[in-house]
């Protein structure tokens, strides 16, 4: 019953267009009234408690590191490096875009940051090479899907701390799936290159290559630092974030020399805003989460799933379909925070590996960033790529189809995530 009240309140208030964090606070108040334990003190206290977390501090740190790297002249070096790797085949720039997405995913933890940093550089380059503008933009948007899967990952930090699954383990579990997504996109790109007969080649002289490789080494070293540091227990994900910031600051200021003191304040303000948008929802969802536990909503949910709760595959399929549709209408962070704590107890009871499921859940919900009506990445893409929303949707279909196919693969063959996970943990 409480579950129903909560969902009705949520979906009745969403269309008002006010921030979702406010809606969560209201849902909390309504749920309290319904349960007869209304107390504004608890909402306020939970809002603060939700933000007062050492684990979640990794969010501003990785955002800051990504922002410093993006503005410090790092993105362009990654792109040049990827061009050296892929320039010798037809459609090389497209492959380079996918490789850049993979490398950038190892530096930034958010698909939005990934798409805006790489899109600004790569889309004009691809259009100049004679690629279709819609397809170029679509490739960047689809490639941004790798960012939340390969560590560091802001969604993994949010989900991990909300449901109590190790963030470090989820980071390690995301490496291979992220590469698989990149591979899937490359296959689609090969078909597009053949169909459109793209002939472009990017060639560099030996000297140019030397300079690019030398300049990109500090950038390429950062993912190794993060993954290695967490893997070998040298630091926690939060500390890894702080180290990444110091590292990014040092190379942007002293090696690339592209960041000035004045930029640093602006970068910090952008980071704080981005952090606050996530954290206000986290705070509100913490209050909701507290009530969800008090109202025993996970039990109600498990009862609802009743007969299928012990068939792992069927359960995964039902939950995936649900996530796919909820991802279309609601944004990533609230989805993780509202449904994570409700669904994880059911998943664990069914004997499904929570680390595997976390990666799957994040991947599925992230696909919602590419679907109308609330596809954040599509809006961003159409503005940086200067293509209409409709054209972009049409162009992204082949890539999206591949990503859906990969979602099926991950669902039906959990070992694709579970086995490689053991290589890193």
């Amino acid at each position: 019953m409480e579950l129903l009240v909560f969902l009705i309140a949520l979906f009745a208030l969403l269309p008002l267009g006010i921030p979702i964090a406010f809606i969560l606070m209201i849902c909390c108040a309504i749920l309290m009234l319904f349960m007869g334990n209304f107390n504004s003190y608890i909402i306020a206290q939970q809002l603060v408690a939700g933000t007062n977390s050492f684990a979640l501090m990794a969010i501003p740190f990785f955002m800051l590191a990504g922002e410093l790297m993006g503005r410090g002249g790092l993105s362009i070096r990654i792109v040049s490096f990827a061009n050296i790797l892929a320039g010798k085949v037809h459609g090389g720039l497209g492959y380079a875009a996918i490789i850049s997405s993979i490398i950038f995913a190892g530096l930034s933890g958010s698909p939005i940051a990934d798409a805006s940093a790489l899109g600004a550089i790569l889309i004009p380059m691809m259009v100049a090479q004679g690629y279709d503008r819609g397809t170029s933009t679509a490739l960047i948007c689809a490639g941004a899907m790798i960012a939340p899967i390969i560590p560091p990952s802001v969604p993994m930090i949010v989900l991990g701390s909300a449901v109590g699954v190790s963030i470090g383990r989820m980071f390690m579990a995301g490496i291979v799936p992220g590469l698989i997504i990149g591979l899937g996109l490359m296959i689609v790109w090969t078909i597009i290159v053949k169909k459109n007969k793209y002939q472009d080649l990017v060639t560099y002289t030996r000297e140019e290559k030397k300079v690019i490789i030398k300049e990109s080494i500090p950038a390429l070293f950062m993912p190794i630092l993060i993954i290695g540091g967490i893997r070998f227990g040298i630091f926690t994900p939060t500390e890894a974030g702080a180290f990444a910031c110091v590292y990014a600051l040092l190379i942007s200021v002293f090696i690339y020399k592209e960041i000035k003191l004045g930029d640093m304040l602006d970068i910090a303000v952008q980071t704080c805003k981005g952090t606050a948008i996530v954290m206000l929802i986290v705070g509100a969802a913490t209050a909701v989460g507290w009530l969800i536990t008090v109202a025993k909503i996970p039990d109600q949910f498990a009862a609802l799933l009743g007969p299928i709760a012990h068939n792992q595959l069927l359960l995964l399929i039902v939950i995936n379909v649900f996530f796919f549709f909820i991802g279309m209408v609601m944004d990533l962070t609230p989805n993780l925070l509202i449904f994570g704590p409700v669904i994880f107890p059911v998943i664990i009871a069914a004997g499904i590996d929570p680390v595997y499921f976390g990666v799957l859940m994040i991947y599925n919900l992230c696909l919602g960033l590419l679907t109308p009506p609330v596809g954040t990445l599509l809006y961003l893409g159409s503005s940086i790529g200067e293509v209409s929303f409709g054209t972009l949707i049409k162009s992204i279909l082949p890539f999206f189809a591949a990503e859906i196919a990969i979602l099926f693969l991950f669902t039906f063959f959990p070992d694709l995530i579970r086995v490689p996970m053991t290589w890193f943990i």
Partner: protein, 170 residues
């Protein structure tokens, strides 16, 4: 929020307030990085931690989250579902927006009241590692709620005034 209707003094006050917020957030964020970084280095190199660093950085984190929320709110950056209201005709849109703002004012008021009660309970409690009074966290929430409430109320009043004007024309 449009600034057309605000007086010059109001505009200047907003500008100063924003600048203070920006500098505070900038300094706080880099300090957080420094605290966590130094703690990590000390633990690894000298085998001694710095217990205060964890608490200090967490408290700053609460503050940047609350202050950042104000800035993001002023710029309309918080995530919401505006699909439906954008599809409405201007007149209906205005009504739905007025309802939305009224709902926002109600909940911000409730949380502000809760925040004050929260402050009253914890303002003297010292934090375990640093001894900083825990009330400092409640203050961050109160500042956030008061600022957001201010923006929402002024937005609500502007919307009301706008809604009256077309009627006079008719």
């Amino acid at each position: 929020m449009g600034d057309q209707n605000s007086s010059p003094q109001e505009k200047r006050a907003t500008k100063v307030y924003n600048k203070v917020l920006n500098y505070f957030m900038g300094i706080a964020l880099y300090s957080m990085v420094a605290f966590v970084f130094i703690n990590g280095v000390m633990r690894y190199v000298f085998n001694t931690g710095w217990p205060a660093s964890e608490e200090l950085s967490r408290f700053l984190f609460v503050w940047i989250s609350m202050l950042g929320a104000i800035v993001a709110y002023r710029e309309g950056k918080h995530v919401g579902v505006d699909l439906l209201i954008n599809a409405l005709r201007p007149k209906a849109k205005r009504i739905v927006m007025l309802i939305g703002e009224a709902v926002a004012i109600t909940i911000l008021g409730i949380v502000l009241y809760g925040g004050l009660k929260y402050y009253a309970v914890i303002y003297k409690t010292p934090a375990p590692a640093t001894g900083i009074p825990m009330g400092i966290l409640a203050i961050a929430l109160i500042v956030c709620m008061v600022s957001m409430l201010g923006y929402t109320v002024s937005g609500f009043i502007k919307l009301l005034k706008q809604a009256e004007e077309p009627k006079e024309v008719l």
